[in-house]
Every structure is written in structure tokens, then in C-alpha cells.
Subunit: 457 residues, 2 copies
């Protein structure tokens, strides 16, 4: 077993399997000294990951042995599935200390999914102005810019000079922990532009702040969707951006690290939805996970029964030539795969706003042509295999034609279905898969067995 | 048709379908005045998107009509599939002007995939020190921190005070466009910490810089993988981080916007690989797209032929009861779906370092149990349907048992296969899908038809 003193330089600040083993060992041995020594250098995000990875019993023991280590930063990094458990296990005073050091956006993130009792307990721990800030943020819609922003903004009147701004900043000792711009506002508090701290530092004192503003300046409305905010940060390389209310007045600022976290979540959501998993995390229990996956499997059951109904139409044909039953899943499977390829590209392109009215027909045409070319190649390959396998040339012809039809349909359905769902206001990542696979299964079985009925019997 | 004067306030800086239509109209009419008026307010990233969305002919015409608008920022935002075309269409002097204003990391990003002639042309346009910086960056491995960093770093000796640092910054007029920290270095140029500009501005002149350093300080090695860098930025909420060479000397700095772009690319790659699409973009042509998708479809052909071989083992059984051919795709399809759910969760958890040695057995157990519970539910549902459909209770029993077996196997294979591939150094996003579907197809058909052979005939 590795000893504390074995920890090599540079390993101290990373959550390796070795470090996890040593922590679990210290928890087992109730060794609070060793725990402190191993855990203290870890980043809050890593401590949160640790709590997610160990099992229920070890987690409870760890929190009991090291309660003051679970600070606000650890709580706000923690997976939502576990947060309630951890907060419930924390002594009340430890919780109060934990939240008091957080910026307002982190407190909002922490409490927004709590039930009202627990939310009350956390809010009670805050000082009055912080509490008001958090409650205001909670009044904005979920997943909006208002929830994402922090209310701590560094601003200056638009008519100020560099010297005035620097003097003002130097006389203030409660500046936010992280800020990158000074936002310029008019007398009505409308943001007019922003100046980077680097530019501020590099300019003569007499320079007008208004002459130093950045081109990248953009504002968001409090009620704007956080996904749009994240997209804009990524598209326009923003570092921070002011948030305004319906009267165009400055109410907060969003910084790139929060936008990056949203972008990360949205990607995660897209990947999981495309796979029919829905939300959720590795920390969820069996019952929760089963419930979340069930609806997608139920939809799949319906679509595969639909495909079976198509097969049932041709029972006599299959009874006459069992080889058809052997080969038919190949056509459906190739169509399903090609369809998934097209739909994934389309869903991503819609999410990144690369697929628009300007190029949708060109993309559809391309996908159909790609389906045609790949369909022709695999038609020849599979036609020859079918012929050779069952010594029946016409069987090869039938599977070849069915392959071309299904791959062309896959390209078409894989693009048109997500685009249509998007137009109807349905998340294409969520629903495209089931529709596209239904189409390729039904068309695959129908084309193959139907052609067989006509050409072989 | 919308007129120029119709453009509403607030629409000027966004690439709406209307704006695209107006631009195409101006291109058609060779109206350079209108083009300038519509294009000038657009962000370079939007101009790049525009070039990606319009067709070849319009793109060539647009570049010819508005060459000076295609500046370095537009080029570096442009999809790689198109960059070569656009650069080839640009007059030589326009290209030279375009690249001269870029930071070194953007020039690297621009030229790294060019062939050597074109690369030479761009490098020749740079001034000598910039050229050296770019060539040094190009000497680092692809997708490394060295390629991602910019060499323009703001640094200060570790023994300086706030006053000395501010005076130094104010006396320099070639500070980088964007910087967020002053990096403190020892006499050997080893970075010792960094100070945010906000903290610098808010502290008395006599304060030692060394007393203001941030806890979040981390350095990266030039040869470190850019994916690890992006992970660390996201995990530890970094804004910028120094890059050091093998002797621990400061050689550059990576900023969060570049890390965010890498994170975005890696996500994109994962989604596309999971769907068997590989790299590539919406701007690719039919032949390129067909070629990229072909290998994945070829792998799918092989796996579906494997499944067909399993079916072929039971030809006599199917000939005896054609209902089996009707029902068998349902078992395989449900297994394939459940397997995809498990593998997607596993692949994502591996990518985000949430699935580790500490919890791998717990996750495998959970996935198997989820498969068991959902398997039992769908066994009852499908058993009753199978019985009712073909009025044969034993057929219902057979499909029910096969369903449970295949969903348990799906949960197991969906987790074990990606974990094993990761251990073997193979990208699990790339290869898991084919393996898992093969397993669920083969097990699904074998369990269902095998049980039917034993229990029904």
C-alpha cells in the first residue's frame, strides 16, 4: 500500500487512482491527520469528483471526518445528484460558512434545484445584500442569462478618463475576485461599451475610456437562453459580457468560465439525447437510471414492432425462402447506420447554427448523393455475397437494389427529419433517432422483402 | 425582397437568413457598395460562417468583389475544408495584410494544415520575429499545448512590487491585445505564480507581487496534449495558464478562449465518432463525405453479416416457424439500443474522467442491474405481445427470456467494452459502437432462436 511520504512531487494536486486509494485508506482508519494532508492540496473540483466516485458509506464517513473541507466551492462543483446528500450530511454551521464565500452566481447554481426548506437554510446563512442578489437571480427563468450572471460588476461612467477609473478601482477594496473588463455605462445605467484591464493599464491617464472600448462588446438580456449566451461566447470569443434588464439597464455580468460550463453541459446533453439516455449522471442509482432510460427503450419497442409488422406482411415469402430471413437484417442495419451518420451531422450542424436556410437544400442533396454512392458500392459487395452465399443470382440482385434504396432514404430521412423537427420547435437531438431508425427499418424490410416477393417467387 | 434600409436595429450584427439573402443579392448584382454596407458590421466569425454556407460560385464572386474584407480573423475562423479554396482565391497582397495582424497562435492554427508552398507564402508575409515565433510553434507536436499557446506573454520578475509592475506595463506600448494575468518568473524564467490584473489594480503600490498570486496557478508543458489542457481549463476554471519547456522555462501562455475552442472540437469529435461519422464538416463535398463514411459502414456490414451467420445456424428452426423471423429483430434492436445507452454514458464518463478505477465496478454493477430491471419489464410486455400476436404462449416465454438475457448483456458489454478499449489505448468513442452492437445482435439472435429451437420445436 502506498504511504503518504510516497506521494511524488506534482502528484499532490491531482486525483490519481493512487491518491483515491490513500484517501479511502485514511477514511477507513479514521486518520484525520492524513486526510487533511492529502485532501488540503486538492482543488475543490477534484474533491467534488472524489465524492462522486466513492461509495455512499465512504462518502458519509469522509464528510464526518473532514466537514470543514467541504466548502462552498466543493458544493458548487458537485454533481446535482449528490449535492442534496452531501448538504444533508454537513453540520449547519459548516454549510453556512461554506456558502458565505461564494459569488452570487455560484450560490444561485447551488440552490436553484433545492427544495424550499433546504434553500431557505442556505439563504438564511447569507448576509442581507447577498441574499437579495440571489433571490433576484432566482426570479429569472431557469437556464436564462439572469441565472448565469454574477451581480458583482465593475462599472464606470462613460465620460471618465483612464486616470479617474484607475483611481476609483484603487480606492475600492471589495472588487470581485475575477473581473476582466470595466463596463462603461451612461447615466441611465445603459452599458455603452467595455475596456479591458490590459488596455486600461497600458493607456495614458488622460485618455477617455470611451476611446478604448473593444469591438467585441455585446450585451445579453436577463431572460435570454443560456445556450444562446454560450454559443455567442464561443462564436465571438467573448471573455465577459454585461447583462441588461428589459429597460437596457446593466444588472450583471457573465464571464467565460460560466459560459464554458454551459457549453460543456449542452454538448453532454446532446450526446446523451442522441443516444437515447436523457439527462442524469454516473452518480445516479439503479432505479433512477432505469426510469430515465425506460421511455427511450419503450419508444424503440414501438418502432421495432412497426418494423416487425412489415416483416409479417411477407411471412409467406419468408416461408418460401428462409434465406430472406437471414439477409434482411443486413439491409435494415446498413440503413440504420447510414441514417444515424446523416442525422448526427445534421443535429450538430443545427446546434452550431451551421445548417441554415441558406444551405439546407445543398446539404440534403449532398446527403442523398452520399447515400447513393455508398449504396451503390455496398450493393455490389452485398449482391455478390448474397449470390455466392445462397447460390442464387436473383437474391443478390434483390439485396443490391434494396441496399441502394435504403441508403438513399437514410440520407434523405437523416437530414429532413432533424430539420423538420427543429422547425416544429422539437429538439432534434431528442427525437430524430427514433424517427430515422423507424424509416430505415420499415423501408429496409419492405424494399428487400417486397422486391423478393416480386422477383423471386 | 428585403431592401437594405429594411434592416432593423439589432439585426445588423447577426447572420440571419434575411441578411444572407441580401448579401447573395448584392453579389449577384455586383453591388460592392451594398456588400460593404452589409458585411462590414458582421463579426469575422459570422463572415466565415457565411462563406461556409453559400455555394462555390457565390463564394468566389464574393471574394472577388470584397477581397480586403477577408482578413486574418475571417481566415482563422474558417472551416479547414474551405480555407485552402479561399486563400487560393485571395490576391497575394490581401493575404499578406490579412495574416500580419494575427497573434502567433492564430497564425499557427491557420498554416498548420497547409501544404508547404502555401505555408511558405504566408510565413513570407510575416515580419522576422513573428515568423520565428510561428516556426517554433510549428516545431511542437500537432494538438499540443505548444501549438495552442501564444508566445506574447506579459511577465514580471517575482521580486517586483505592484508599483514596479504597473510602471513597467504603462511604459510598454506593445502589450498583447488580450491578457488577464502577469506571470511572475524567477531569474531562470521559471514561472512561480501569476497575478490577475484586477488584483494588481486594487492593491497598494508597495505590495509584493509574490503576495498577490492566485491559487488557481497551473502550468502546462509545451508537449502536453491539447485535450488535457482543455480539460484542466474546464475543471479548474482557469482563465489563462503559462506554458513551459522541458527545462521549466516560460515559453508562452494559453488563454481560455483557445481552450474553449479545443473543448468544443473534442466534443464534436466524440459525437461524430460515436455516430460513426469521423471528422469532417458540412462544407465537405460528396466524394470526401462518402469516403469518410465508407469505412464505418464497411465495419457495420461485417458485423451485420456476423449476425446473419448466427441466424443462418437456425434456418431450419425459422422454416418451421416463420413467426420467429418476424419477432427476432425486436430482441436485437432492444439490445442494440440499451447497449448504446450504456456505452454512451461510459464513453462520456471516461472522457470527463468521472469513470475511474475507484468506481468502475460500481458502474458495471449498476449498468447490469439497470439492464436486468428494464429487461424484466420489457420481457413481460413483449412476452404478452408475442403470445397474443401468434397465439402461442411458449413463443411469448422465449422472447421474454431472450429479452432479459440481451438487455443484461447490453449493460455489461456497453460498459466493459469502452473501459477495456480505453485501457488498450484505443479511443472508446471510435470503436465501442461496432463492438457493442455486434455483441447485442449476436447474443440477441442466438438467445432468441436458440431458445426457440429448444423450447418450441
Amino acid at each position: 500500500m502506498p504511504e503518504l511520504t510516497d506521494i511524488v512531487e506534482g502528484e499532490r494536486d491531482q486525483l490519481t487512482d493512487r491518491i483515491v486509494a490513500m484517501i479511502l485508506d485514511a477514511v477507513e482508519g479514521r486518520d484525520t491527520v492524513a486526510l487533511e494532508e492529502i485532501l488540503a492540496p486538492l482543488h475543490p473540483a477534484d474533491i467534488a469528483d472524489l465524492l462522486e466516485q466513492i461509495d455512499d458509506r465512504d462518502r458519509k464517513d469522509l464528510i464526518r471526518l473532514w466537514p470543514h473541507g467541504i466548502d462552498g466551492d466543493v458544493l458548487s462543483e458537485l454533481d446535482e445528484a449528490l449535492r442534496d446528500d452531501v448538504i444533508a450530511a454537513l453540520p449547519a454551521e459548516a454549510l453556512a460558512v461554506a456558502v458565505r464565500d461564494l459569488e452570487s452566481d455560484d450560490v444561485v447554481d447551488l440552490v436553484e434545484d433545492m427544495d424550499s426548506d433546504q434553500q431557505e437554510a442556505v439563504l438564511d446563512a447569507l448576509e442581507a445584500p447577498d441574499r437579495v442578489a440571489v433571490e433576484t437571480a432566482l426570479s429569472y427563468p431557469e437556464e436564462s442569462a439572469g441565472r448565469l450572471m454574477q451581480v458583482e460588476v465593475v462599472r464606470a461612467p462613460v465620460h471618465w478618463t483612464v486616470g479617474e477609473t484607475i483611481d476609483y478601482l484603487r480606492s475600492h477594496d471589495d472588487l470581485p475576485e475575477q473581473f476582466y473588463h470595466v463596463v462603461l455605462v451612461d447615466p441611465r445605467m445603459k452599458p455603452e461599451g467595455y475596456v479591458t484591464l490590459g488596455r486600461l493599464l497600458g493607456s495614458p491617464r488622460a485618455t477617455k475610456m470611451a476611446d478604448l472600448t473593444e469591438d467585441s462588446f455585446r450585451t445579453f438580456r436577463v431572460d435570454q437562453d443560456e445556450g444562446d449566451v454560450a454559443y455567442a461566447f464561443n462564436q465571438y470569443h467573448l471573455i465577459s459580457a454585461p447583462v441588461v434588464d428589459e429597460d437596457d439597464r446593466l444588472v450583471g455580468v457573465i464571464t467565460i468560465d460560466d459560459a464554458m460550463a454551459v457549453l460543456d453541459e449542452e454538448h453532454e446533453e446532446d450526446i446523451l439525447r442522441l443516444a437515447g439516455v436523457g439527462e442524469g449522471s454516473l452518480a445516479d442509482r439503479v432505479i433512477g437510471t432505469t426510469k430515465r432510460r425506460f421511455p427511450w427503450l419503450a419508444v424503440n419497442l414501438v418502432t421495432s414492432i412497426l418494423a416487425s409488422l412489415v416483416i409479417a406482411l411477407f411471412e409467406d415469402v419468408i416461408a418460401g425462402l428462409v434465406a430472406l430471413a437471414v439477409l434482411m437484417p443486413i439491409v435494415a442495419s446498413m440503413g440504420g447506420n447510414a441514417g444515424t451518420q446523416s442525422l448526427t451531422v445534421a443535429v450538430r450542424a443545427i446546434a452550431t447554427k451551421d445548417l441554415t436556410g441558406a444551405n439546407v437544400w445543398r446539404v440534403i442533396r449532398r446527403e442523398v448523393l452520399v447515400g447513393l454512392v455508398n449504396g451503390l458500392i455496398f450493393a455490389v459487395v452485398m449482391g455478390l455475397i448474397g449470390w455466392a452465399w445462397f447460390s442464387e443470382p436473383m437474391l443478390g440482385v434483390v439485396i443490391a437494389i434494396a441496399m441502394v434504396i435504403n441508403l438513399v432514404v437514410a440520407g434523405l430521412a437523416g437530414t429532413v427529419i432533424p430539420v423538420a423537427l427543429e422547425k416544429l420547435g422539437i429538439d432534434p437531438a431528442l427525437a430524430s433517432g427514433a424517427f430515422v431508425t423507424t424509416v430505415t427499418d420499415v423501408v429496409g424490410f419492405f424494399a428487400f422483402l417486397g422486391l423478393a416477393a416480386v422477383m423471386l417467387l
